[in-house]
Symmetry: C2
Subunit: 650 residues, 2 copies
Amino acid sequence: MDRKVINNLRSLSLDMINDAQSGHPGICLGAAPIMYTLFANHLNFNKVDGNWLNRDRFILSAGHGSALLYSTLLLSGYPIEISDLKKYRQINSKLQGHPELSRELGIEMTTGPLGEGFATSIGFAIAEEYLRSILGSTIVNHFTYVLVSDGDLMEGISYEAMSLAGSLGLGKLIVLYDSNSTCLDGNINKTFKENVLKRFEASGWHTEQVVDGENILLINKAIENAKSILNKPSIIEIKTIIGKGSIFEGSNKTHGKPLDEKDYLLLKKKLGYENTFYHISKDSTIYFREKQEKRIEPIYNEWVKNYNEIYQSNENVKKILNYLENNTYELNLKKVKIHLEEGESEELRVSNGKLMNLLSDLLPLTMSVSSDLFTSTKTYFENGGDFSEVNRKGKNIYAGVRENLMGAIINGLALNNIRAFGSTFLTFSDYMKPSQRLAALMNLSSTFIFTHDSIMIGEDGSTHQPIEQLSMLRSIPNMITFRPADIKEVVGSWDFIINNKKPVNIVLAKDKIKNLVGTKIEGVEKGAYIVKEPFRISAIILASGSEVSTAIDISDELLNKGYGIRVISVPSLELFDMQDEEYKKELIPLGSKVIVIEASNDKSWYEYIYNKKYLLNIKDFGTSGKKVDVLKHFEFDFDSLIKKIEQLIK
Amino acid sequence: MDRKVINNLRSLSLDMINDAQSGHPGICLGAAPIMYTLFANHLNFNKVDGNWLNRDRFILSAGHGSALLYSTLLLSGYPIEISDLKKYRQINSKLQGHPELSRELGIEMTTGPLGEGFATSIGFAIAEEYLRSILGSTIVNHFTYVLVSDGDLMEGISYEAMSLAGSLGLGKLIVLYDSNSTCLDGNINKTFKENVLKRFEASGWHTEQVVDGENILLINKAIENAKSILNKPSIIEIKTIIGKGSIFEGSNKTHGKPLDEKDYLLLKKKLGYENTFYHISKDSTIYFREKQEKRIEPIYNEWVKNYNEIYQSNENVKKILNYLENNTYELNLKKVKIHLEEGESEELRVSNGKLMNLLSDLLPLTMSVSSDLFTSTKTYFENGGDFSEVNRKGKNIYAGVRENLMGAIINGLALNNIRAFGSTFLTFSDYMKPSQRLAALMNLSSTFIFTHDSIMIGEDGSTHQPIEQLSMLRSIPNMITFRPADIKEVVGSWDFIINNKKPVNIVLAKDKIKNLVGTKIEGVEKGAYIVKEPFRISAIILASGSEVSTAIDISDELLNKGYGIRVISVPSLELFDMQDEEYKKELIPLGSKVIVIEASNDKSWYEYIYNKKYLLNIKDFGTSGKKVDVLKHFEFDFDSLIKKIEQLIK
C-alpha cells in the first residue's frame, strides 16, 4: 500500500508535467519515496491549520520538484484539488512553476533559486530553538525538514548554511538529501566529487546514509535516527535514481523537461495508472491519510490543550504568543524623544544602533544578525545576549562572513514571525542579492541594514566603496529602501519598518551627521518632503542621506548670492513614487529646475530632472584616500558641488 | 636573519597603518612569517618582468592584509618606494587600501571582498593546467599560491572553490590558510567551528597543518610537501596569532583598526625598530633578495632559453604565444555570413551558441564555462572537449551550480589572457554580482552570457523570471551590457566582445527570434540605431532585445492608422550613452515623443522619455504561465502594447 501511494504521487506529478509540457519529472520520480515516508510517518502538520505554531516545517529546497510537492500536499488533504493540478504552471494558478509561500497550502516558503531553501531553514531552526527557550517546549518543539538536491549542495550559500548550523548545533534540523548524482548538465562527477557526508561531519553534523532510495524502511529508520540526535543537525543522504522508471532513468534527460509521450505513457502503465489521468487511488489515499491522522491528531489535541492552559495562566507567555500570532507591533515612533539636539552630530550608524537597542528592549521577538560586522555596523543588541549552542535565548546572531546566508536567516526568522534585522556594509549587499530577492518575492518583514554607504568611507578604497548598490537595491520590486539624512529620518525609517511588514533596506552613512534643522520624523513616510524653503524658488535640490546636509549648506550659501533653493530630502524614492500626483507636484512644481545630489550612480533620479547634467553623482568606482580627498577627487566636495550648481541655475 | 626580515615586514606594515590611521594590523603581524617563507623560498617571480608567463602566481585573498603585501613586495625589490609606503591608503596612491591589480607591482588581482581571491585562483589554476597542456611544461609549469583568512573560508564562494578545485584535481594550487581563529567580531567559535582541514580532505584536497605560525621551518616543510603533491590541490593550515606582539595579540581588537600609539611604539621597540620609521634593514634585505635571486635566476634564465628555442622552432606554439602575449584578436565579424535569412527565426540562444562555436574554432585561448546550464544556454563548445582531471585540453568547464565561482573563474582565466565566456540564466546573475563587480573593477575581458532574459520564459514562474537584473547589470560601472534584438545584433555584440577587452554582459532571449529587416551588425557598436524609419515621424520607439521585433510590428500596424513610428534598437544603453550629442540628437531629435518598450524595470530609460508613462515595462515580479498568457497578464502582449502606444501618441 505504501508503494501504491508513492506511485500515485509519481503518476500525478507526471500528469501535471505532461499537461503543462513543462517541469522536472526526474526529481518527482526519484524522490517520491522520501516525500511519502516523511509525510506518512514523521511530519506533524495540520492540513486545515497551516499556521499551527508547533507544526513541523518542511521546505522543498529543490523547488523544481514542485509537482511532487503539490501531489503530496493534495494526497495529504491540503486544500488542493485535481482542478488545481490541471492548472499547474498555467496563468493564475495557485500551483506556480516553483513553490510559492502559502501556509494554507502547506508551502512554508518560496523556493527555486538553489541553496536558498536550505539556507532559510537555518533561520527556521534558530527560530524554533529561540521560541522553545522562551515559550517552553510544550508550546514549541518541532522539527524542520528540508529536501535538498545535488544542485542545492553545490551553491555556496548551502555551505554557509552547513557551517553555521553545525557551529550552532541546531539539532532539530534534518536535511533529506536526494542524492541522485545527476544535475542538469549530466553526471555530477564532472564537477562535484566531494564526499558530502564527510564534509558535513567535519562541520559538526550527524550523518546518515540510505543506500537505496526505494527502500522506505531504510529511509524511515534514518529519519528516526536523525530525530533522536538533538545536539547536532542531521543530514540523510538518500541514494535515489533520477527519473526512476523512465526509459532514461539515471540520466539528466529526465531532469528539466517532460518525458516524451511514449516514455510517459509506458511509465504510467508501469505505475499502474494506464489510461487514467489525474487519478487518485482511493484506498491508498485513505491509508496514507490514516497514517498521518493517527499520528498527528493526538499530538495536535494535546498541544492545543497545553497551549490553552498556558495561554490562560501565564501572562508573560500570553503576551509573546499574541505578538507571535499577529506579528504586528503598534509603536508610534513619531513622538520619540531624540537624544541629539538639532545641530549636534553623531555617527549615523551609532544613532541607528541606539534606536535599535531601544526597540529591542520594547519589542519582544526581535533579533539582530550580522555577517561579522556588529563591531562596525553597531547593530548589536546590548541586552540581547549571543545566540549560541548554550544560550538559545540570545538575540544576537553571529552569521559569520556569510552575507547571503544572513539574508536567508533573516527571511527564515521573518517566516516564523520574528522580526530580524541584519547588518553589513552596503558594498557587500552584492553577496546577498539572491536572499533579498526572495524576501521581496515573499513580502517578508525582513530588514537589511547597510552602513558605510558611499565613497565617503575613504581609505578602504574601491572594493569597499559602494557606487551601484543603491541602484541594485532600489530596483528590487516590492522592496523599500531608506537612505535617511539624519537621526530624525533614521527614526522615521524605523517607524515604517516596525509598523509595516515589508522587506526594507536601510542605508546609513558611517560618518558623523548633524541632526538637521528642517528634517522631520514624519517626513519619511511620504518618501520625500521639503526640509528647506526659500522665500523665492530659483531651483530645487533633491538629495538623500548625507547629501541632504550638504544640500542645505549649499542652499544657505547660494542664498547669499541671491538664489533661493528649495531642498527636498528623499529618504525613499520608492515611497515617494507611491504618492499621488498632487503631492509630487506640490514638492516639484511642473517646470521647476531640479538638481539631484546623491553619492551613487542610481539613474532612477532621471525621472525628476530635465537632463542628466542635473544629476550630480558618482559614476565610477571609488578610490582610497581620506574622505575629504576622495570627495575632491570626484568633484563631490562642497566647493565643487556649489560651483556646479551655480552653473546649472545661472 | 630570517627573523629580521619578518620583523622588518611587520615594522613597515605598522608604520604604514599608523600613518594612514587606517588598516588591518592583525593579519600583517600574524602572517608575516608565512609571506616571508613563501617569497624567500618558494615563489618564483621576476620583479622587473611582472608579466613573466611562467611566474608563480600569488593572490592575497585576505586583501585587508595589503600593508603586509606591499612591504613584502618592496623588500623583494618590486618598484615600490618608501615614499609609496608613506602614501598608503591616501589619495592617488599606487598602494590602495586593498590590493589592486598591477602586474608591475606584483599584484595579480584586486582583492578585498572575501572569498573572491581564493575563488579566482581556481581560474588561475585551470589556466595553468590548460596552457601547460597545450604549450608544454617547459613553457608553462608554475604554482598558484593563495593566502586566505578565516573570513575568506566562511564566504560561500570559497566553498564553491574548494569543491570544484578538488573535483578537478588542481594539483598546482596551494592555499596558505592564515588560521588565527579570529574574525572582526571576535573569536570564530561563535560561528565557525568546523574542522576545516577535514572538510577540504572530504573534497579531495591534500591537507597540511602547521601548529606554530612563527616556525618558518615548519611552514617551509609544509609548502614543500604541498608542492610534491601534484594530483590534488593543497591547503596548509598555519596556526597564527592575530596581532602577534601587540598588547592585544590574539584579540579582534587588532583586526580592523590601527594599534593605539602606545601599543604601536612598544611593539616597534620589540621588533627592533624603536624610533625608526619606514626603516629598511639593509643586511636582512640583502639576505632576503639573495635567497630569492639565487633560486629564481637560474630558473628564469633556463626558461627564457627554452622559450626562445620553442618560439623559433614551433610555429603552432608561436602562434598561441603571440595571442597569449597580446591577448588581442583581430577578427572582423561585420562581414560574417549569417545562416539565417531575414524573416527566418531561430532561438536566440541557439544562434548565439552557433556563433560562439564558430569563434571557438577560429580563436585559440577561449574557454566556455557554465554553472550547470550548458544544456539550456547552448554555449557548449562542440569541438572543445570537457576540461577535467584527465583532459586538461578541454575548453568546456562545468562550474556546477555555482554562479559566483563561475564569475571568479572567468576573471581568473581573463587574468591569464584566456578569453572566457560564462553562461547562466539572467535571474541567477544575482548570485554572481560580487565576481562581476571585480571583473569591472579590474577591467577584464570577462564575458557573461545570460539567457532566459525576461518574463517570456513563462512556466518557471516568478523565481526564474528576471525583472530587475538588467538594471543591476547596467548599473555596474565600467561594464557593457548587450541585449541584442536578433541574430545580427548577436553578431554585432560578439564583434565588440572579441575586439575590445572589456567586461561584457550579453543578455539573450530564450525564444525564437526573427532575423529582422532593418537591424545591422554594425549598428551595435554605437549602442543604438534606427531600424525602421517612416516617411513622417509621429513618435519614436526605443526598444531592446525581443521587444525590437514587437516595436517593428507595432510600427507597421500603426502606419495603417496614419502614425509614423521611428523604431530605434538599443542593444546597449551604455554604448549609446558614450556617443556624442550630435549622434544622439540625430536619433532622438529634441522634442520628439519617445516611448520605450523593455521587459524589465530598468529606470535608466527615464533619460530618454518625457515622463514615466512613456516607459512600457514590467514593474512587478513575474508569474507562471504560457508565454502568451504571461504577456497578457502584464499587459505586455502586442494588443495591449499597441493600445497603450496609440493612447500615448494620439
